[in-house]
């Protein structure tokens, strides 16, 4: 459902130009949960912005459901790392979640109902009337996820979504993502620099090189579902996979299986 072919992006020009991505090819199947890992500064966010149509890549193309991405597509939602900046502080939580639904043919009542349903699915049924600043960081990120879910996108992009919360909250939110993908039919691309997280959450992990980024590894994650923070992480397959991804991120050779 997502096809990225020969994607390149250069910031600036001349000798000071920064080649963030070069010749990146990737395809994601419908319903897949793909994690993209790579060292920091690897052009992961540039990749995400290109997929979302927030920037125009300097080379190559991105297609979602066969359609070439030129502007921000209609069937896509993004969850950013920095929830405190991505949520609108002047709106109540419910209004934040309902706002993107104005793009759809829904009246006020339908938008409100959809927002409430999305908030319930992230465990924030009671928070609708509050303002984002009245919630903890983890709860704010739940609101951002609810906002994306309510929109019912075909593709949900998550840019380091748990990078700004504490470890306990991080685990809860990872499980939340696994849980909501069971209820909603959608494709998820989650960008992270956390190797364990990529293996724990993903159906498939793609490893990017340092900038200029291209794909250096593509691994299928075949761990039993439902996953569990304790038992999944102690399973030998998980341990093996995370080691493999870790070596790729550090630019070492893959060990023979």
């Amino acid at each position: 459902m997502l096809e990225i072919s020969n994607l390149s992006h250069v910031y600036g020009s001349g000798p000071g130009a920064h080649h963030a991505i070069e010749g990146l090819n990737l395809s994601v199947a419908e319903g897949e949960l793909l994690c993209i890992v790579g060292p920091s500064g690897a052009g992961k966010s540039t990749l995400l912005r290109s997929i979302a149509g927030l920037i125009q890549p300097t080379g190559g193309e991105v297609r979602i459901e066969g359609k070439l991405v030129k502007q921000t597509p209609d069937n896509l939602a993004v969850v950013f790392q920095d929830y405190s900046r991505s949520l609108f502080p002047w709106m109540s939580v419910a209004d934040n979640v309902a706002l993107p639904l104005r793009r759809k043919k829904m009246d006020k009542q339908q938008r409100r109902a959809a927002a409430q349903e999305a908030l319930e699915s992230v465990g924030l049924a009671e928070a609708g009337k509050k303002y984002p600043f009245q919630l903890s960081g983890g709860m704010q990120q739940r609101v951002a996820i609810a906002r994306a879910l309510a929109y019912r996108p075909a593709l949900m992009l998550m840019d380091e979504p748990f990078g700004s919360v504490d470890a306990q909250t991080r685990e809860d939110l990872e499980d939340l993502v696994l849980q909501v993908r069971g209820h909603h039919k959608m494709t998820i691309v989650l960008i992270t620099h956390d190797i364990d997280e990529s293996v724990y959450v993903g159906d498939r992990v793609v490893v990017l090189s340092k900038a200029p980024a291209h794909v250096v590894g593509d691994l299928k994650v075949e761990l039993a579902s439902p996953r569990d923070q304790i038992t999944t992480r102690e399973h030998s397959d998980f341990v093996h996979l995370r080691a493999e991804v870790g070596r790729l991120v550090r630019g070492l050779e893959r060990t023979p299986a």
């Binding site: 921000t72 002047w90 993107p100 992009l157």
Partner: protein
């Protein structure tokens, strides 16, 4: 808490008045004729029953309100426009930086010569002076809009107009209101100054001139007292409005007072 603060404020004012009273009655030489606070306050109360003074206040306040409203109507859209179009702002910035620090009172003599209609002249100088704080604060607010907040809305497929309307304007609104509050004080200064310099049929400034020509320092101060009260009330009302309307902004910037 609040009552203790008010009590301290009242004590400060009362102390100041008593010290003033005693200094003027017993401390100064007989050569200096300065009305003691008790007399000024007495005259100020008397002015409340003086139809000439009251109609003057009405004239001054009308000019003040007209000027302030006109400046908001001009400066807010202008600020939004300049704030959205970086190239236009860069072109006009030097001109703004030159005009802004010119003391607005200095243009009153010019306005008297150029604008023959008295009330229009007065409103014009008020508009000119109030434009700057509203314009500069609107610009500042537009620059302060978080790029990630704009991207968040764009990522759902919203266009530039929607981003302006639903993100930039609400985000900049508290800055605009702060600009209006600063402008309200400046507008009152200009309203009275224009009357002092140009005279006219009535107004707080006109009343002061007439009191001066009769050597009534007590009446000058009594009228000035009411001008101060008006400025204080206007400021307090706008502070209250900022807190009511933009509590999210206070929470975000960590302002507590």
């Amino acid at each position: 808490m609040i009552s203790a603060r008010i009590l301290r404020g009242v004590a400060g004012v009362a102390g100041f008045l008593i010290v003033g009273e005693l200094t003027i009655r017993f401390g100064l030489t007989d050569d200096v004729v300065f009305p003691p606070p008790s007399l000024v306050l007495w005259e100020a109360m008397g002015l409340l029953a003086d139809p000439v003074f009251l109609s003057g206040v009405a004239i001054t306040l009308t000019n003040w309100a007209l000027g302030l409203i006109a400046s908001v109507v001009i400066a807010v859209p202008l600020g939004v426009l300049l704030g959205s179009l970086a190239s236009v702002e860069r072109a006009t910035r030097p001109l703004l930086e030159f005009l802004r620090p010119i003391p607005s009172v200095a243009i009153i003599p010019l306005a008297i010569l150029l604008i023959p209609v008295d009330s229009m002249m007065k409103v014009s100088v008020i508009v000119y002076a109030s434009l700057w704080p509203v314009l500069i604060n609107t610009l500042y607010g537009m620059h302060d809009v978080d790029p990630l907040a704009k991207e968040s809305l764009r990522s759902f497929g919203f266009g530039a107009i929607d981003v302006l309307r639903r993100v930039s304007l609400p985000s900049a609104a508290p800055f605009m209101l702060t600009g209006v509050r600063i402008a309200a004080g400046i507008a009152l200064i200009l309203a009275v100054s224009a009357e002092l310099l140009a005279g006219g049929t009535g107004g707080i400034g006109v009343f002061v001139i007439q009191a001066g020509s009769g050597n009534r320092t007590d009446l000058i101060l009594a009228a000035t007292f009411w001008a101060g009260i008006i400025g204080m009330v206007a400021n307090s009302l706008l502070v209250l409005a900022e807190r009511r309307l933009f509590h999210w902004h206070q929470a975000r910037t960590g302002a507590t007072t």
